[in-house]
Amino acid sequence: MDEREAIARSKEGEVDGFNWLVARYERQVYNLALSMLGNTHDAEDAAQDAFLSAYRSIRSFKGAAFKPWICRIAANSCIDKMRYRSRHPAFSIEDNPVEPKSYAPADQPEEVALRTELRSFIDSKLGLLPSDLRLTVVLVDVQGMSYDEAAQVMGCALGTVKSRLSRGRRQMRRLLCADKELLPDKYRHYI
């Protein structure tokens, strides 16, 4: 099955066809949610909501690329979650950093622990950015999307992506510089 066929089958209401797309993009959607929300519990919820919303509205999908479309739904789902969280602040025992088991099993435990620590450090700093700048930085730098793809996801002009990315990166630079002693050695000297 290829993506086009999976989309066509999903439009006919076949859950299996849609689940093929879920399997293909779930990692990306989950990571987008994790970077946006900063904790695994909310990220799982947002990712699941995104896929359910996507399934419900797959008939309205007319574009050629599924990735920006599902990422846009995921980003909206994260923004809803953030809005809800800001109205209902509550301590959650599941506000843990990403567990090492999420990474490649071949890695050394020490290496995994360092990467986990770095990821939660970066996620905590990303959480300090305004949501529009955070989304842009996450899409372009963390997810590795092109400017055009990011513009499609955010539904804005290319120039807006450029300016948001510039502001987001500059703010991230300041935030990382402020806590540079928490960075790994290889980066500490350059920042």
């Binding site: 859950v15 849609f18 689940n19 879920v22 399997a23 779930e26 990692r27 990306q28 959607v29 989950y30 990571n31 994790l34 970077s35 695994t40 799982e44 919820d45 990712a47 699941q48 909501d49 896929f51 359910l52 919303s53 399934y55 419900r56 809803d80 809005r83 809800y84 109205r87 209902h88 990403v98 999420s102 990474y103 990467r115 770095l118 990821r119 970066i122 930085v137 730098d141 963390v142 590795g144 400017y147 450029k162 300016s163 990315l165 510039s166 990166r169 500059r170 991230m172 630079r173 990382l176 510089c177 960075l183 980066y187 350059y190 920042i191």
Partner: protein, 178 residues
Amino acid sequence: MFGLGRKTECDRVGDRLSEYVDGRLSGKALQYVEWHLSGCESCAKELAELRTTVEILRGVDQAAAPRSFAIDSAMLAKRERPQLYGERALRLLRPALAVSVFIFIVMLFVDFGLIVTGERGADMWALSSGGFDWRFVLRIMEWSWGCMVIAFALAFIYVSWRRHRGYPDLYDSNDILR
């Protein structure tokens, strides 16, 4: 005023550094940034830090999905889209408020027209309607319509305020998804 809000050369170059890091500058913009960087230590330092920031962000490990997000029919049946508070009410209130405000403004204009034309206008109205003073009816209508507009506006503000405070997460429970 007093130079506030005016961008310095470093600010202008700083705005383009992000694109410069991604290799998206060309022509005169690229030449300008490179020329500035060759003579400005603080911007060169900022560039180095920005490059490292981007490198760190790009090096963030992608976590594996902790579980499958595949959907099934039971999930579709149980997990409803979260309905924001007042979504339906606002869908009705918005056009109702807009239309009623518009009609109210038209009424005010008509009334204002009568005031401007004065007694002569009122006499013409009275003559054309067989001696009946329509201005009195118009005022009554204005008052009642105005009350309705206020009621719509208050309802709109109340529902928007409740909605702004957040909505109940209808499915945030440990149900079949876990």
